[in-house]
Symmetry: C2
Subunit: 573 residues, 2 copies
């Protein structure tokens, strides 16, 4: 991305093809209509009045459309960020207070600044640390927590503010007697309607249907007098624009949550953006530019008194399926929300909160990913446990510690594996020049007088001891039967300074035992280290070979033809 | 290590050769004589009365001799553990109190239990995470801190209790006027004598000479009336034996320090034991058994009212050089200390603390490792920075956070490198069947219609995105000129489930573009993953080859001979 084709939207704005318009308008309107109930529902989830969900669905969409590299990603309020906002801000301020509103906007500002900075210093690669099992375990647990957190709206009772599943369930059990029946029926009905409309595959989004039906039911049935909680008065007009109040104390308190939301929000957006990108060749999603774009979107969310936003799964999928060709679709969605804010807010007076809860519950429960867990159980047991630990840690320790535990565990497992890489003693397969792992090809034969081994991983400080001990054991087993140790180094991607030092000791020890150490297929970066460490001279140029067959042949003929050596070894520094 | 040859000492006890005795006695006595001043000095460093250093030099030596796998390792009080003890216990209790003594013993107990458990569950490999640059930077910084902490004894003034270099230096500067001149002269003289005796390479250890000279100078010169602080009354006799008082509160307070000392003490011992092991073929140092042995030694140190012990660098070197053949040498050293405790303690009445300080300073300043820093600067800049960061972090954040920062940094760098492994586009070197990195062998030629690439590292969740993006870029550069992507997988040691999923997407994408994806040299573990993920069928058995030349030949002849395939692919599950 050079300066001259920045921002990325320039490309589609300059080259806008009029045939794109139809798809952009259709997708923009559909997503905009989805955004009205979803935005309000997620604001409720975040602990804010529903109208703030519409605020967050205005400017950020336009900013992302201009700065983002994806042309289908639909940015706006999403479930995960909203729950994390509720947890973070709820720990500091009481729901419904002005302070709560200001803190939610401040959180969006912090998330945006972190994402923007991370994009500028190119930290986008960090999201690669979130492996699929971690994301799956975390998402399933978070979905469960989010879904259950809506029980209070479904029941029409106050269940307190907890993001621990067992606490929510206990509270729900205790208040079973206070359930407001009309509320419960509305909520369950809502869930049923959303699912039915979805199954019918109509063009109208289920959430919109249930919102309309819910409003009519409350209005015509007088349900609000029967204890059904409604959205009630919504201020008309656009949000006032300005920076939220900033204090050092609040910055400190919100810091860990802001970092988590910055990472998780980005992760959600980049995964769906890449998945959709696979069907579109006109552009490429660039992770660091995405960080900048979604960061700017979050900063703009703070300016319009919103809360953290991200690229969402469901709306992006709909945006793509209904034909979005460019960011214009998102701009149209935002415009629809602006129109709603200006003229349509009185329509939502009778909207029952239970209906918003039903929309959230349907949206998140389908994120619980049993399939991936079953697949991993059959296919990769260690990854299954990674998923399970992340799932349980997220439920038991909370969302932030859960994802941290998942990342820490997967990095630890990766490091442990690289400390104990795969090893093989090689033998020649009869009648061929192929040397393969004796453990897998028992018919292969070890060449006479030689131990041929393969070490499948970089040789570095944390495995050099293991490497030495392993070969020492193999040599001990072959006592006096061998004169040469041949290391197939094709799998040794690099050697660090600690390993070079250990290798030097190793070679001297083997020399002391009268053994020659030879290398086959050493690649460039590993050769460079040996050269810098002065090990090339110690090992001797005669002991480097292009591949195992050449080294074995040379050894067995007792004539090392120069043509078998690594070509031009000395001339390619 | 089976049950029947446990403990390891059984081997040398059963097979004791009388010719070994001479060396064992000579080494045992020499190390025992060294232990008297060193033990007292390190007790002082740990904030304990000097006699406790002798206590810690009794039972632990015998226990280690019986349980340890090294026959030369000299266990006992060491500088690093003593400083960490002072920092840990000094934060809870005042020096000189009974509580301080009990806490030091409790700390040894905790260290011992952690080491013992770690050995039993085979956590010895964790020490491999400490790379050479980390150990070097940490040791240099700790040596500087320890050396400067002795300034107060050298000056004869109270400089407070700090393990931060700048605080010690500021305090020393402020109290410059209160320096006790006879103390300073004794201390500087002590340093001079130790260095001179060392240079003269006599058989008598320098510390012993300086102790004798110091005692005589104070006694005959009446220096204690001139303000020179002396060791004074030492209780005669052996320590009483018993468990230290244990309270949950103290266990919690000492926990982080105990973990650090357990790790660092083990690290120091195992490094020197392995270095010495290189000259002795009769035995092998077994890390997990070493953990058990040094853990038991620490538990026994707690029983005799000592403080944490470890295998020390200098005494082990002397033990080896003066001829120790078996653990009997250590048992003789311990016996000498017992004799000293029983009969010789009155001799140390006039021993000046400044002399003990001079012994510590000479011992630790030589651990400051400028050579390694210079070597790494020339040879591996990234490892140099690792050393520098650990050095600075240890000075600036303290010993515990310093080593933690070093380990975290080196693991992070390793993970980052594995996220961005070495990559190469391969070409055939004219007239040969060798395929090498085009960037290093520019004369090599890409085979017509094919992109041949090599990925040098495991393919896992954190680099699969990078892998895909890199190959996509290469394909884009070669647009329409290629029909096949051949992946030389010799360097791909394993593939995890996230990577398998990414690979599936990748192969489908390339198929969509009309490209065939082929693999050469895929090793067993990686093949297993592809098989379990059902990718073998997707890729097609025809697209696996033993090596790159065979794959290229097969492609170019448009006839894939079965003999070139991976042999017996289906039969070797």
């Amino acid at each position: 991305m050079t300066f001259f084709n920045w921002p990325p939207s320039l490309h589609w704005i300059k080259n806008y093809d009029r045939t794109w318009l139809r798809g952009d308008v259709s997708a923009g309107l559909t997503v905009g209509i989805m955004l009205i109930p979803q935005g309000m529902a997620y604001a409720l989830l975040a602990g804010l009045p529903p109208i703030y969900g519409l605020y967050a669905a205005t400017l950020p969409l336009i900013i992302y459309a201009l700065l983002g590299t994806s042309r289908q990603l639909a940015v706006g309020p999403v479930a995960m960020d909203s729950l994390l906002t509720a947890t973070a801000v709820g720990a500091i301020a009481a729901t419904g207070t002005d302070e709560y509103l200001a803190l939610a906007a401040l959180l969006a500002l912090m998330v945006g600044v972190f994402q923007l900075l991370a994009g500028l210093v190119r930290l986008g690669f960090l999201v690669d640390l979130l492996s699929r099992p971690i994301i799956s375990g975390f998402t399933s647990a978070a979905a469960l927590i989010i879904g259950l957190s809506q029980l209070q709206h479904l029941f029409g009772v106050d269940l307190g503010r907890s993001s621990f599943v067992h606490e929510i369930l206990v509270a729900a059990w205790m208040k079973m007697g206070q359930i407001n029946l009309p509320t419960l029926l509305l909520g369950l009905g809502g869930i049923g309607v959303v699912l039915l409309v979805k199954r019918a595959k109509t063009a109208i989004p289920g959430p919109l249907v249930v919102v309309v039906v819910g409003i009519l039911a409350v209005w015509l049935g007088g349900l609000s007098e029967m204890g059904v909680k409604i959205v009630a008065d919504i201020p008309a007009g656009l949000p006032s624009v300005g920076l939220p109040e900033i204090s050092v104390a609040n910055l400190q308190l919100l810091l860990p949550s802001a970092l988590t939301i910055a990472l998780i929000g980005f992760m959600e957006g980049i995964s769906i953006a890449k998945a959709v990108n696979a069907n579109h060749k006109a552009y490429t999603v660039v992770p660091n530019q995405e960080l900048v774009a979604v960061g700017a979107a979050n900063i703009s969310a703070a300016l319009v008194q919103g809360f953290p936003v991200a690229g969402g799964f469901s709306r992006t999928a709909v945006n793509d399926q209904t034909g979005a060709n460019t960011g214009l679709a998102s701009i149209i969605s935002a415009s629809l929300i602006v129109v709603t804010l200006l003229f349509l807010t009185p329509l939502f007076y009778f909207l029952p909160k239970a209906v918003l809860a039903s929309i959230i519950m349907v949206a998140v429960f389908k994120l619980i990913d049993w399939r991936e867990a079953r697949r991993l159980w059959a296919f990769d047991r260690s990854d299954f446990w990674m998923l399970a630990v992340t799932f349980i840690a997220t439920l038991g320790l909370g969302i932030q510690l859960g994802i941290a535990a998942g990342v820490a565990l997967s990095v630890a497992v990766h490091v442990y594996r690289s400390m104990r890489p795969h090893l093989a003693v090689l033998g020649r397969i009869k009648g061929t020049n192929s040397f393969r792992n004796l453990a897998r090809f028992p018919e292969a034969e070890e060449p006479k007088g030689m131990l041929v081994i393969r070490f499948d991983g970089p040789l570095y400080f944390a495995n050099i001891t293991y490497f030495q001990a392993w070969i020492d054991d193999l040599i001990a087993e072959r006592e006096d039967r061998i004169h040469t140790v041949l290391i197939n180094a094709e799998g040794i991607a690099r050697i660090d300074s600690s390993a070079a030092y250990g290798l030097e000791q190793f070679i001297r020890t083997q020399r002391g035992r009268g053994l020659t150490v030879r290398f086959a297929g050493l690649i460039g970066p590993a050769r460079d280290t040996l050269k810098r460490a002065g090990l090339m001279e110690l090992i001797g140029a005669d002991n480097f070979f292009l591949d195992v067959p050449k080294a074995v042949v040379s050894e067995q003929c007792f004539s090392a033809k120069p043509g078998n050596r690594v070509p031009a070894l000395q001339t390619n520094e």
